[in-house]
């Protein structure tokens, strides 16, 4: 028998899930990003018309989501590197502090970008 959500429902597992989902979402986004940049090679007009489309409020909103994903994946990745490479000190619960920090950093980046866009 396998575990269900009741067993998985703790902060560190949610952090793993955020890291995995943001990683998958970003890897889907990346080819799209390169394709858009590739449009510049086809001529300034095509890129320009695409950039015009990104001025749409809904696209702007999803850009905020993208920045949140990037910030979450970056700070979550730094947390993982800390867990893997830094021998843990005597107090074993410090990684939960690291979790709060990664969540805070992600939220701050998202907010900063949102304020910049809106």
């Amino acid at each position: 028998m396998r575990n269900d959500l009741r067993s998985r429902n703790h902060r560190c597992f949610w952090a793993f899930l955020v890291h995995r989902v943001s990683g998958v979402a970003l890897s889907v986004f990346l080819p799209l990003h390169f394709w858009v940049l590739g449009q510049a090679l086809e001529g300034a007009g095509r890129l320009e018309s695409f950039l015009r489309w990104t001025d749409h409020p809904l696209v702007k909103l999803s850009e905020i989501g993208l920045v949140l994903l990037l910030a979450a994946h970056l700070s979550g990745g730094l947390r993982l590197l800390l867990l893997e490479f830094r021998p843990w000190p005597a107090a074993p619960r410090w990684q939960q502090g690291a979790l709060a920090l990664t969540a805070g950093v992600s939220a701050a980046f998202g907010l900063l970008f949102a304020l910049n866009v809106l």
Binding site: M1, R2, N3, D4, L5, R6, S7, R8, H10, C12, F13, F16, L80, L83, E84, F85, P87, W88, A90, P92, Q95
Partner: protein, 237 residues
């Protein structure tokens, strides 16, 4: 009388839950509840326990979805609307009712070379190990494991990869790797390297979250990852 509605797993892998009503009592533990059912209501109920005080590690079960020592878990702490759901430990074959087959769990301790390999005899002097060395501190932080299987049952990597040695066996390997008296430290590193060993850990930290002794097997596994990486770079793996 205040009653507790208790769902208990009956049968083997393909069994199901049966419901029993148990009188509530002050300071009642989950093990008290299971014992009441076996002695008063269902004599054929199979479960495992020994010390009842959190020393032997034999009474671990899945209580409301979470692996716990039943002897050290008060009903008041885990009941939901006067109900309890008690099942055998996850990630292990079910023998009968609440009894999980632990052979696979302890077999993996053997695979991780979880035994001390002596380098001295009884005729030698006592080894003098300073408790202040980083190695001894790392071993001390991980050594209190009593092999209850709670971390193994909570680990999703074990569910995903049945070959994975699991948190307890790797934690044990880490204590021995840090024991300077042990004579098989290099061989043990080879045993715990690879996808079924320390590199398989996905850092969910469920083991440390659920460990009743508040150990952190993930810290031990991270230590083994660093040690195996160093050994590989030096061509010793």
């Amino acid at each position: 009388m205040d009653l507790l509605r208790v769902k208990i797993w009956r049968g083997g892998e393909s069994g199901g839950f049966a419901t029993y009503d148990v009188p509530r009592q002050g300071d009642q533990t989950v093990l008290d509840v299971v014992t009441y059912i076996q002695r008063q209501l269902e004599p054929s109920l199979a479960y495992r326990f020994a010390c009842r005080v959190g020393m032997c590690g034999s009474c671990a079960m899945t209580v409301n979805g979470v692996a716990r020592w039943t002897c050290r878990t008060h009903v008041a702490k885990v009941e939901i609307d006067g109900g309890l759901e008690i099942a055998p430990l996850r990630n292990l074959p079910v023998i009968k009712d609440l009894v999980a087959d632990m052979r696979e769990f302890f077999g993996k301790w053997k695979k991780a070379r979880g035994h001390f390999v002596a380098t001295a005899t009884r005729r030698d002097e006592f080894a003098r190990i300073s408790p202040e060395t980083p190695q001894r501190k790392a071993a001390d932080a991980a050594i209190e494991c009593i092999g209850c299987g709670v971390c193994y049952a909570s680990c999703d990597t074990v569910s995903w990869n049945p070959e994975y040695l699991g948190p307890a066996a790797l934690n044990r390997a880490w204590t021995l790797f840090n024991d300077v008296r042990d004579g098989a430290r290099a061989e043990r590193l080879q045993d715990v390297a690879g996808d079924a060993g320390c590199q398989g850990c996905h850092t969910h930290l469920s083991c440390g979250e659920r460990c009743p002794k508040r150990l952190q097997p993930t810290a031990a596994i991270a230590g083994l990852k660093r040690a195996t990486a160093l050994a590989a770079m030096r061509g010793k793996l």
